[in-house]
């Protein structure tokens, strides 16, 4: 079979500061996974993790992209942003740690639970970051 048809690729852009439109990539991805007949629990985990990653770009970075690749057994999501980067990833991963501004907190974000939530809802989570350049989050979930 043509290897190209064995996987599906989707890409999206995210704009920093645009909270009203956060959630569009995760909704689209959800739709595709549902059409593929992936079970509800797996989809839910993926959607939660992707949504948190999106919101992090919106809240903390300037702009970013989401690249999704789905094959027979798994989904790989790479969220890449241009932004301030994360100086201490281990610290950022701790539940409750947040540098969110007052404005972001007033919008109901900034509890410091995003990264821990992503960890909980993915099978693999790899974060690479360079201060003043940007952050790349790679998440993999395997299907049942």
């Amino acid at each position: 079979m043509d290897p190209e048809t064995q996987s599906m690729k989707l890409t999206f852009n995210i704009h920093g500061g645009d909270f009203t439109h956060a959630g569009q990539p995760s909704s689209e991805v959800k739709k595709v996974l549902k059409q593929l007949g992936i079970d509800g629990k797996t989809i839910k985990g993926i959607v939660i993790a992707l949504y948190e990653a999106e919101v992090n770009v919106v809240a903390h970075a300037w702009k970013g992209t989401v690249e999704v690749e789905i094959d027979e057994s798994k989904i790989t999501i790479i969220v890449r942003d241009e932004g301030p980067g994360i100086p201490d990833i281990e610290l950022a991963m701790q539940a409750g740690y947040s540098t969110a501004s007052k404005k972001v907190r007033e919008m109901g974000f900034g509890a410091g639970m995003g990264l821990p939530n992503m960890k909980k809802n993915t099978d693999e989570l790899i974060i690479e970051s360079e201060v003043d350049k940007g952050t790349t989050v790679k998440m993999i979930n395997y299907f049942l």
Partner: protein, 458 residues
């Protein structure tokens, strides 16, 4: 789950249907296609919300119902109807006059379904207090919403509250009361006056129940007409004993916030199918926090906006709210008045689990499904993105999906076809034949009675 076949009460009249795409565009589940110039409903996808019925300019959608004559075969003939029906009648008629009218039509017993309400309220409270209950818990009151969730938001089926709707409550209640009075079960015929198609399907082929409790369904607008033929202005027999279990809560139950105001420390009420879709989308993404209870109804203004109602929905709401003020609170209706075992009644309200029925899957084989989706994506690149509906599908993407499922072809897109003519790839005559095949040969003839000609617009 119920082994009953799903009952499809909604039909399209081929003579009246002009194949105008209004219904197709209004459908929240993309369940309608125009084929050979006629609207065709995919009953697997249809959730019975009635949007198509509302959108149709020629009233081509009709709702099948049982013959009223069939009630004659029972000794005890019970009409069960939601309280909103009372709100349909001109205000000059009293409740007793309306009840008397229903009896003249041929019923022996008249029951508004929302009674004894406290039994259902307590039962739902038990579910909400249970630690195992998935929050936010979603009411099953509106069957169109239940079907929408089963089909489009399958993972949320576990949030549905497994307690039956008021029509079951009243049906069980009526049976118990009549048996108490000396009737035998087989002598009792139960008939439900429905405000909508969704309830017809729910009554005839219930989800999470083993069999249908009622013997027949009557459309509320038809019953209204029958009653109006015989209703009298004069003194009517005092029927208030039949309403002794009716409460303020019962009367407003079918209105927006009629349920949600009783449950949860934080509750939400949503009406209108498109609002419901948007909210369920968020809920499924886990973007809704802290809410315990969700009331969700397919119709704007809930059942007051049901498609088989005659009155204006806002007027209906106002009347019911006023009527409710004259009735006692549910908890003040004494056990002694109810005269049946409420614990036993409560037991009867428990539903079997409701299973998901996802209907948006591209086939069971994941690799093949992915191939199809990739193909659909590639097809979309060639379609104009106008979502005009001239292909008989609700939008370009739906057409692409139909194509990969072998239900449509490239030439169904009129713009693509036009381009092919322009490029000399097909002949103009052939292109026109294709369009005629889709929309009928008479479609493009001049006709001064066509829609739009008589200023039917805004």
């Amino acid at each position: 789950m119920s082994g009953l076949p799903t009952y499809h009460a909604l039909k399209v009249d081929a003579v009246k249907c002009i194949g105008c795409t209004h219904c197709m565009k209004s459908c929240p589940t993309e369940a309608i296609r125009v084929i050979d110039g006629l609207a065709v409903i995919d009953h697997e996808r249809c959730v019975y919300c009635g949007q198509c019925h509302r959108a149709c300019p020629t009233r081509a959608f009709y709702v099948e119902q049982d013959d009223l004559e069939m009630i004659r075969s029972f000794k005890y003939r019970v009409i069960l109807f939601p309280s909103i029906m009372i709100g349909q009648f001109p205000e000059k008629y009293s409740e007793d006059q309306i009840y008397a009218g229903l009896k003249k039509v041929g019923f022996t017993h008249v029951y508004e379904v929302e009674q004894p309400m406290q039994v259902l309220i307590d039962s739902v409270h038990e579910v909400l207090e249970d630690q195992e209950t998935h929050k936010p818990a979603i009411s099953i009151y509106c069957p169109a919403i239940v079907r929408l969730i089963q089909g489009r938001y399958p993972s949320l089926t576990e949030n549905l509250i497994l307690r039956k709707a008021p029509h079951n409550l009243a049906a069980h209640f009526a049976i118990e009361q009549l048996i108490e009075e000396g009737a035998r079960r087989e002598e009792i015929g139960l008939f439900y006056a429905t405000p909508c198609i969704a309830k017809i399907a729910a009554v005839k082929s219930p989800v999470g129940e083993r069999e249908s409790i009622v013997d027949g369904v009557v459309n509320m607008n038809q019953l209204y007409n029958e009653v109006m033929k015989v209703i009298a202005d004069g003194d009517a027999e005092d029927n208030s004993i039949q309403r002794e279990n009716l409460s303020a809560e019962g009367i407003t139950w079918s209105l927006t916030r009629g349920e949600s105001c009783h449950f949860g420390s934080r509750s939400i009420a949503i009406d209108g199918i498109h609002n419901a879709v948007r909210f369920l989308e968020r809920l499924e993404n886990d973007q809704v926090h802290g809410i315990d209870f969700i009331e969700m109804r397919a119709c704007d203004q809930s059942c007051a906006g049901g498609i088989l109602l005659t009155g204006n929905r806002f007027m209906t709401v106002e009347r019911l709210e006023r009527r409710a003020k004259r009735y006692p609170a549910a908890k003040d209706i004494a056990q002694t008045t109810i005269r049946v075992d409420t614990e036993e009644l409560k037991q009867k309200l428990i539903l079997d689990p409701i299973k998901p029925k996802p209907h948006f899957i591209f086939g069971k084989d994941r690799v093949k499904a992915m191939e199809k989706m990739n193909k659909a994506q590639r097809i979309v690149c060639f379609l104009p993105g106008i979502d005009c509906g001239s292909c008989g599908a609700p939008n370009c993407h739906a057409l692409a999906e139909d194509m990969v499922n072998n239900k449509a072809k490239m030439s169904d897109c009129i713009y693509l076809q036009q381009m092919w003519v322009d490029e000399g790839r097909i002949k103009a005559e052939k292109a026109f034949l294709n369009v005629q095949k889709k929309w009928g040969t008479d479609r493009f003839k001049a006709d001064c009675n066509k829609r739009g000609r008589r200023n039917e617009g805004f």
